[in-house]
Symmetry: C2
Subunit: 500 residues, 2 copies
Amino acid sequence: MTPAVDHPHRPHAEAAAAAAAAAAERAQLLDEATEEIYNSIFRPGSVKINVKGAFIVDPDTSTPAAAARAQPNGQASPTHHETSDIRLPNHTAVVSHIAVDIGGSLIKLVYFSREVHSTDSGGRLNFQIFETDRIDDCVEFMKHLRDNQLELNGSQPGELCVMATGGGAYKFYDKIRDALGVDVLREDEMECLIIGLDFFITEIPREVFTYSETDPMHFVSPRERIYPYLLVNIGSGVSILKVDGPRSYQRVGGTSLGGGTLWGLLSLLTGARNFDDMLEAAGHGDNANVDMLVGDIYGADYGKIGLKSTTIASSFGKVFKEKNRVDAAVRRGARLGGNGNGNGNGNSSATEQTAAGEESESSSSVKLAFDECDISRSLLYAVSNNIGQIAYLQSQIHNVSDIYFGGSFIRGHRQTMNTLSYGLKFWSKGEKQAYFLRHEGYLGAVGAFLRRQPKNWGRRNSLEGLDEILELRRSLKANKESSSQAVATTTTTTTRTAAD
Amino acid sequence: MTPAVDHPHRPHAEAAAAAAAAAAERAQLLDEATEEIYNSIFRPGSVKINVKGAFIVDPDTSTPAAAARAQPNGQASPTHHETSDIRLPNHTAVVSHIAVDIGGSLIKLVYFSREVHSTDSGGRLNFQIFETDRIDDCVEFMKHLRDNQLELNGSQPGELCVMATGGGAYKFYDKIRDALGVDVLREDEMECLIIGLDFFITEIPREVFTYSETDPMHFVSPRERIYPYLLVNIGSGVSILKVDGPRSYQRVGGTSLGGGTLWGLLSLLTGARNFDDMLEAAGHGDNANVDMLVGDIYGADYGKIGLKSTTIASSFGKVFKEKNRVDAAVRRGARLGGNGNGNGNGNSSATEQTAAGEESESSSSVKLAFDECDISRSLLYAVSNNIGQIAYLQSQIHNVSDIYFGGSFIRGHRQTMNTLSYGLKFWSKGEKQAYFLRHEGYLGAVGAFLRRQPKNWGRRNSLEGLDEILELRRSLKANKESSSQAVATTTTTTTRTAAD
C-alpha cells in the first residue's frame, strides 16, 4: 500500500500575497494556519484539480472511459446509463486517486484520465456505474485503473488511493483494500453529496437545468448566491438535506419509498428486466387504467377543494375493485369447469398469470389483466409524486425555495422530472423551483473525489475551507486586533486566486 | 318522495330561559335569531338526537343491525369489518333519515334504530359497510330500512330521507333517489368528516384512544379544548384536514398512497382475497426479507445521522437485486433445458409464478419467490410510514400537536396503528400525539347523519352553531349595548341546556 503523496505545489498563498501585497502579513498568517489544517485534518495530503474551463464532453466523443468499458472486466453493467465525461482542459497535474460511492443498489465510480490520445493538455473526469451486487466487477475495473495509472493520469503504479463513500465504503472496505492493495479512505456520504453538488452547481457550465413538459430543459448559470437549498437525493431510498453553506448542512428527512421501491415492485409486477425497460414502459402507459381518479369517485371534479376529476385520488385504487369483480366471476365460473393451467406469457403481467392460475377456462373473459405499461406509469407517478410532495413539505418547514433533485433514480427521465417539477410548482403555487443535473447520480462520488485536493481550489468558492477561513478570521481578529475588513478582503482574494 | 318533517319540539330556548331568568330578554332575542337560522340555513328541518348517556355497545350484543344483516339483501360484505353500535339510551324521538358516505372503495352507512326487542327506552346508531361496487346491495339494504321504518325508528313508511356524502353522493345520486323514491340530501365530504370526528371526540366515551406497541390502547377522555387538531383520513386515498374550530377547517393536503394502494398492490402481488387476509398475512411477515435496511447497505448503523441498522432504507429494495440474481441464473439454466410450465399455486406469490413461467425446470432452485407475508408487511409499513411522515410534516407546518387518524384503512389493526403512532412520536421527538377511533371509518357517515338535527344539541358543544352564536353575541352587543359578560353567560347556559 502506497499512501498518496502530497502535491508539493501550492500557488494558493503565493498568489494571495501577490494580489494583496498590503495584506501580506495577514495572508501569511492565514496560509500557515490553513496549512496546519491541511496537515492535521486532511490526511493524507491533497491533489489540486484545476477546473478552469471545465465542460461536459459530448457523449459520442471517444474517451478513455469508453475504451476502458470495452475491457472484459470493466464491461458496462446491463443497467448502465450513459453519462458524459467532464473535460478539465487546464488540469495537467498527476492524479493518484479514484472515488467510489457504493450505495444499496449501485456503485458510482469517478476517475480522472489524461488526454492520452489527444494533443490537448488537460484531461477529464470519467463516470462509471456498476450494480452493487457486481462489486467484484467494480473491483476488477479498479484494478485495471490501478494498473494503467501511468497512462491514465501520470501517476506511478502503486500510487493509487481509493476515496470511498456510501454505505458500501464500510461494508466492502476490507474487500476493496485487500483486492487492490491500496489505501481506502472513507468519507461521510452526506458530506460528499453536498461537496459534489456544490461543485456541479458552481463549476460546471450546462450541468444544472430546470425541466417541465411545457418548457423543457433550460440550463441554469451558476449564481453568486446558491444557499440555502434543499438536496433531495433519490437512490434506492431518499435522503433530504438542507444546505446553508459550503459545509453547513443537515439531513432533515427522507423516505424509504425511492428508486429501490419502484424497481423492486415493477420487477415483481412486470417482465421488465432493467430500469430503462421500466421507464420505457411507463412512457407508453396510462395510469388512469390502474389509478382511481377523483372523477372515478365523484363522477366529476371536487371543485370545492380544488381537486380536478383527473387528479389521482388513490394510486392503484382500481386494482382491488377489479380483483373483486374477477373473483366473483371466477366463483361463478368454478361451477362450470375445473382449474386451468397458468400459461406464463412473456408480455403479460404477473397479475394475469395469477388470475389464470385460479380461474376456469370457461371464464377467460374475466381475466384480471392490467397492462404492464399502465402499472409502470402508475408506480412511477406514485413514487415521484410522493417524493415531490415530501420535498415540498420539507422546503416549507425549512423555508427554502431552491430544490435540487439528485440520485440515480432520475436518470434524465422526462416523466420523472416533469412529475417532480410539476408537483413542486403546483403545491408551492410557483414559489419553489426544482433543479436537475446531468450528473445527478454522481454527486457523492464526485464529492468523494474532490475531498482529495486543496481548500479553496474552486473558482467560485464551491468547496471546502470557507468555514475554517471564517473561523480563522474570527481568531485573527481576536488575537491580532486587526480590522476584520482587511482580513475579509485578503480572504476573498486568497480564495479567488487559489482557484486559478 | 316525502320530505322529512321538522321536529316540532325545541326544549332549547325554554330551558335557557328557565336557567337564566335574568337574561330572559336576551335569551329570547337569541332564540328568535337562532330559529331564523334553523329555517333559513338548515332546510329541510332537523331531528334532535339525544346523546346523553351514549355509549358503545359490546359487539356480541344482539342488535337490530345484526338482524338486518341476516337479510338476504343486507348480507354482510366479504370485507365487512365488525363495528360496535352506539347506544343512545335517552333518545326516544322519531328518526326519519339514514346516512351514507360513498367513497371510492367503500360505502359506510349509519342509521338509528329503536330498541324494539328491549324494555329499555332509547335506541342505537348502527354501522354498516358495503363495497362501492356493490352499490346495488347497499340500495337494497336501504330499501329494507325504508320499509321497516316504523319498527326501526318510529317513523312512518314514506318518511325516509337519505343524507349522502362522499364522491358517490354525486355519482350515484340519481340511482339512490330513483330506487328509494326519497329525498337525497348531499353534504360536503370534508365538512361531514369534521362534524363526525367532533362528535366522536366530544360525545362518545371510550371512543378515542392512543396506541403503541409498548403501551396499547388507552382511552382518552373528552377534553375541554380539542382545537386545533389535524385529521388524517385514510380511505382509498388520504386527505389531511386542519381543524381550528367546530366549523373552521381546511384541507391542507393528502396523498394518493392510501388504502387503495395497499389493497391494490397486494391483490396483484399476493393471493389475499380481502383486506383482513392481507392484514393477517402482514402480521406473520418479516419485511427485512424484502426491504433494504440501513444495515444491508452499511453493514451496521449509520450512527452519524442517527439511522439504526434496522431502519428501512428502501422499501422493496431487495427485490430488484434478487431478480437480477435469478435472471442471471435463468440465463445459465436456459442452456440446459427448455421452458417450464407455470403452475399456479394458490399459496405462492405472483412473483414465483412469473419466474416459473420463464425459467427452465432444471433451475428451479433459483426461483424468485418472496413470501407473501413478507411482501404484505413491507407494503403495510411503506404505506403507513409514509402517511405518518406526511402527517407529521403537515403538523409541523401548521403547528398542531394532536393528530387523529380516521378512515377505513386502519380497521383497528395493531401494526398499522403502531406504525403511525411510532413514526409520529419518533419524528416529533415525542411532541405530537396520534389518536385513533373505534368508529374510525364512519366519521363522514356520522357527520352526514348529524347534519340533520338542531344546533347545540351536543352536551359538550361538539357541533354546529357555535360560530353563529358567537356572531350573534357580537351583533347583540353592538345593537343593544348590553354587557358582553351577561350575554356570554346566557349563551353558555343556553348551549348547555340545549344538550340535555
